[in-house]
Every structure is written in C-alpha cells, then in structure tokens.
C-alpha cells in the first residue's frame, strides 16, 4: 500500500464508472474493485464519493439499477449500462483522449 496512487481528476469519475460497467453489471463495491484491477492498483476511488456519482449517473439515464444476488449469495444492488450510457461513454472517451493529447503536446513543447 506504499505505492503512490494516481489522483482522480474532477469529472473523470463518471467516465470510469461507465467504463467499469461497460464490461458487465456490477454492484458499488464491485465498481471500485474493477477500477482498482483495471488500473493495476493505481486508482482507488474514494468509497464515499462513489455512490453520489452513481446516483447522479442513474438520474441521467446512463445506468439503471436492480437488486440482485452476488456469486456468494449476498443481496446487492447491481448497476447496468444503458444504451444511452454506452453512447455517453464513447463521447467521454473521445473527449478524454483529445484532452490527453492536447496536454501531452503542451508538455512536450520546447
């Protein structure tokens, strides 16, 4: 746990949640786990701030929720990407790529 963590840029949490759910439905705890795995343990989404973001995304209609049962037989609320959410993910990924490219170009300027 001494490894330095990457700071989460404001506004990127939505993108990450959508991306995590694009690989299949998950409960809140699962979203954090999946993001940790996908980032090779570099990303640690703050647990308390995950749910407000998830609820907001649900309001926007990008994901929907359903109570279900986990593999270990535990009751949990699962989130699933909607069609609109999948479109939104593409849009946010493109916008993120543009931003990353722009910042890279500026950083490399001599």
């Amino acid at each position: 746990m001494t490894q330095p963590k990457a700071d989460l840029l404001q506004g990127t949490l939505d993108l990450l949640i959508l991306k995590a759910l694009s690989l299949g439905p998950l409960h809140g705890y699962g979203i954090i786990q999946r993001l940790r795995q996908l980032s090779d343990e570099l990303l640690e989404v703050e647990q308390g701030s995950l749910y407000p973001a998830v609820y907001r995304i649900e309001h926007r209609g990008w994901i929907n929720s359903k109570w279900g049962v986990t593999e270990t037989g535990r009751r949990a609320k699962f989130y699933k990407l909607t069609k609109a959410g999948s479109k939104q993910l593409t849009a946010e990924e493109e916008s993120w790529d543009r931003l990353a490219l722009a910042i890279a170009k500026v950083r490399k300027a001599v």
């Binding site: 705890y29 308390g48 309001h59």
Partner: protein, 218 residues
C-alpha cells in the same frame, strides 16, 4: 429525459421517503460488509476488519444523507414540507386565516370586477367596422345658455335642422347619424322596469336598438 428521471425519483421519494432512505442505507451497509469480508480475508480480526472498513467508508449516516440529497425529494420535498407547515400554522389561528382569506377574496373579486368594466369600456374595440375612426360629435352650449335647467353638460343636443346642415356641409366625416335616447320606467303589478330606448336617425337605414331592460323590484 434527465429532468423526467429526476422528477420521477423526487416524486417517488416524496411518498416513499423511508423506502428510499432504507434502500440507500442498505446499499451502503452491504458495501461496508463486503469491505469487512475482504479485510478478514487479508488476515484481520473481525472487529478490526469492520472498524477499518467503516473508517475507510466514512460516516455512514452522513453518506446516506448525501445519497438522499440526490435520490430524495430534493426541492419538491422542501416545498411539500413548507406547504404542510403553512397549513398547520394557518389552522392554529383560524381568525387570522379567515381575515386573510376574506382580504384575498375581496381583493381578487374587486380586481376582477374593475377589470371587466375596464375591459368592456376601454380595451375591447367597439363592435363596429373601423372602431378607431368612430367619433362623437356634439354642440357645446355657451356658458349660461343651457336650455334645460340643471343641464350643464358640454354634450349639448342639436336640433334636427342643425343636424341636417352638419350632415350636408361637413367634409370630414364619411357618414353621420344622430340619436335620441329615452328612458322610461314601466311598472306592472309589483314588477318595475327601467327601459332605455335609443333611436338612431339615418337616412339610409332606420335602426332601433333596445337596451336590455334592467329589472328592479320595488
């Protein structure tokens, strides 16, 4: 669609506040339990594992409130609470409430009445062709020349001969007509009516219009 989803969620929360709160609470509680289990698997003692999970998650009831801020009734709930508070406060002071209701009723009623008159007289155009070109022509009496006692009106009547001259010689008007109004009180038995008749003189067309009589019982 977003506003619709939010409105639907707000309305649902308004009537099932407890249910929404329990839903959030349960979701967060399960999250902490999952983290506790993970901690136990990593080798922590159960108590320690739970304490660590709780600490990591932060204040549960505070987080529940944060979630409810988004999923709950929001402004709609606040509005509903305000309405209920207002109703309770008014019911506690019936005389004050009655005074307010009467004041508002009278105010609105008076406004409506005045507007109806204003609308009929000023705003609504007259039911004739080119109402903006209609004018009223009258003769003014020289001071002290009123031919009827108590008639100090500037709207003096004219004689048929004078009207004929006006009509023939004036070039400013397309058409001109004169009218004569009479008012009569008719009574029969215990019913008394005030009747106004107006007769307009027009060479091309004689028309007679009778105003709706006003009934009054005397």
């Amino acid at each position: 669609m977003e506003w619709f989803n939010i409105l639907r969620a707000r309305l649902r929360a308004l009537f099932r506040r407890e249910r929404v709160l329990r839903d959030i609470e349960e979701e967060l509680r399960i999250h902490v339990e999952m983290e506790t289990e993970t901690n136990i698997k990593r080798g922590m003692a159960p108590d320690e594992a739970r304490a660590a999970a709780l600490k990591r998650f932060g204040n549960l009831s505070r987080k529940t409130e944060l979630g409810y801020d988004i999923r709950g009734g929001g402004w709609l709930e606040t509005l509903w609470q305000d309405l209920r508070y207002g109703a309770r406060a008014l019911l506690k002071r019936p005389i004050f409430t009655l005074a307010i209701i009467l004041t508002l009723a009278l105010g609105i009623g008076a406004n409506t009445a005045i507007f109806s008159v204003f609308n009929g007289i000023v705003l609504k155009p007259l039911p004739y062709k080119d109402p903006d070109r209609l004018v009223y022509v009258w003769k003014t009496e020289r001071r002290g020349m009123a031919y009827q006692a108590g008639d100090h009106s500037d709207f003096g009547s004219i004689s048929p001969g004078a009207f004929h001259d006006w009509r023939e010689r004036s070039r400013s008007f397309g058409q001109m007509t004169a009218y004569r109004a009479n008012s009569t009180i008719l009574s029969s038995g215990d019913l008394t009516m005030y009747v106004v008749t107006i007769r307009a003189a027009d060479y091309s067309q004689r028309s007679r219009r009778r105003w709706r009589p006003r009934d009054c019982t005397a």
